[in-house]
């Protein structure tokens, strides 16, 4: 296991707590994972409708960065993951697009590295058994709904993450940490984060449905892995509560934060204070903090 960490732009801006907790876990579990020095933005979802060549070329630059450090790639942001995987696909078959992309990048780039999401690495490379051993502060009786969003599971052939309709990776990580997991139908339903800036109202409707469904199925908090989802469910929750006249009060934590809690890491280090929906009362009530 030798990975280069590709945090993506979100982790460095809107999701600093994801970045911080990722680094904390790497450190705590003694994983051989280091941030890639020369990663660049993946172009996210906006770029590909503009220019397929450019958008692929940006991801290829990151692949190149990993090659330079002779590391496989670990990604946290599902959007980035999708794009580097797509770039890898483009490089693996001869096509017009491939030659255009390489022309734009200006050099030959190989794509033989493994590319995986951090949660997959923890789940099946590090292993649930070893995680269980590290749990010192079980998340007992905390009911968690895992929300994966649409990016991490689709298209399934490319992402190779888990069942696109009912993924279990985060659920199993959380139950290993002693939490109660909530089986609910909207694990991979789209929250509309992609339109959050351009068409806010649309995404509010979608986000409300997701929060309501989690709550109705008995969730006390939501566990996420995607910075876009986190922002959408957390930052806009207050507005949703006002708009629909319903108190939701569902903290939205990154799975890395919840893992950190279970491992007994310092709450300051886990940056729980950055969340908009305050998780402290809940965590205190459950005796986790």
């Amino acid at each position: 296991m030798k990975y280069g960490y590709y945090p993506g732009c979100s982790a460095k801006s809107t999701a600093p707590e994801l970045d911080a907790t990722t680094l904390a876990l790497i450190d705590f579990l003694h994983l051989d994972i280091k941030e890639l020095k020369d990663w660049v933005c993946c172009g996210a979802s906006s770029m590909h409708s503009v220019d397929k060549v450019l958008h692929t070329a940006l991801s290829v630059m990151t692949l190149d960065a990993a090659n330079a450090e002779e590391r496989d790639i670990m990604v946290q942001c599902p959007a980035c993951l999708a794009h580097v995987l797509e770039a890898k696909e483009v490089l693996s078959k001869d096509s017009e697009l491939k030659s255009d992309v390489l022309e734009a990048v200006g050099k030959q780039v190989d794509a033989n590295m493994k590319i995986r999401h951090f949660s997959s690495i923890l789940h099946d490379e590090y292993g649930l058994d070893k995680i269980r051993e590290k749990v010192t502060n079980p998340l007992q009786s905390l009911s968690i709904a895992s929300y994966y969003g649409c990016l991490i599971v689709r298209p399934p052939e490319r992402m190779q993450y888990d069942d696109p309709e009912n993924p279990m990776v985060m659920d199993q990580l959380m139950s290993t940490c002693g939490a109660e997991i909530v089986q609910w139908p909207f694990k991979t339903k789209c929250c509309g984060a992609g339109t959050a800036i351009s068409d806010t109202d649309v995404s509010l409707d979608l986000t409300y449905e997701i929060l309501r469904m989690a709550k109705n199925n008995g969730a006390e908090c939501i566990c996420v892995l995607c910075p876009l989802c986190q922002n959408n469910l957390d930052l806009r929750q207050k507005k949703i509560e006002q708009r629909y006249g319903e108190k939701l009060n569902l903290p939205v934590l990154y799975y890395t934060q919840l893992l950190g809690l279970a491992f007994g890491l310092d709450p300051i280090m886990l940056q729980l204070n950055r969340l908009f929906v305050d998780p402290f009362p809940l965590l205190k009530r459950k005796g986790i903090l």
Partner: protein
């Protein structure tokens, strides 16, 4: 609506063009409607996803390129994952949007401005810089106060840094320039071929 099909119209031509652009063959669609049934954005769309595919089958290029739908698809891929016939609907939406951009068709949603803002930011900094992006987006879309309400909040939580982070910017700019040149060259070649 009247759809006229005469000897001079080649229904297949557009399907073939789309297949070349997106790698998916819309003729496989048998109009079951599963894509429409699961699309989270359908209620914002003027033409539902299965209908977009149908119009493509009928070669109605103008109809689809001028639809709201292609701008409201958020590429969640719910449709393609569940399509029984293996039609990559998302890929078609993406391809149609690229075609529309290439033809300078006026976008039916603000998302295009966001894309432009995004592109400029990456050009400037190599990585995303949210305040700049949202600012630029607001300037372009003319929606000055949009999302600004969240700024103080995000700043307080230190979720946005006011300092942009620069990375490999020179290189990124070069790549962008080369890609742009390539695009112009290809367009010219296409012109000449005609």
């Amino acid at each position: 609506m009247l759809i006229k099909i005469g000897r001079e119209v080649n229904l297949l031509a557009f399907s073939k063009k789309l297949e070349k652009e997106t790698g998916t063959d819309v003729r496989k669609c048998y109009q079951c409607g599963k894509c429409t049934a699961g699309c989270p954005m359908n209620f914002e769309m003027d033409v539902s996803p299965s209908q977009v595919i149908r119009f493509c089958q009928l070669g109605m290029e103008e109809k689809v390129l001028n639809s709201r739908t292609i701008w409201y698809c958020i590429f969640c891929d719910t449709c393609s994952t569940r399509c029984p016939q293996g039609v990559d609907i998302k890929g078609v939406m993406d391809g149609l949007r690229r075609m529309a951009v290439a033809r300078n068709i006026k976008p039916k949603s603000n998302v295009r401005f966001l894309e432009k803002a995004f592109q400029s930011i990456i050009y400037l900094f190599g990585r995303v810089y949210e305040p700049g992006m949202v600012g630029m987006y607001n300037l372009r879309s003319g929606n000055f106060l949009h999302d600004v309400g969240y700024f103080p909040l995000m700043l307080r939580k230190r979720k946005i840094s006011l300092k942009p982070h620069f990375k490999r910017t020179r290189e990124v700019r070069q790549v962008m320039k080369r890609a742009q040149k390539m695009k112009l060259r290809k367009a010219k070649e296409l012109e000449e071929a005609k």
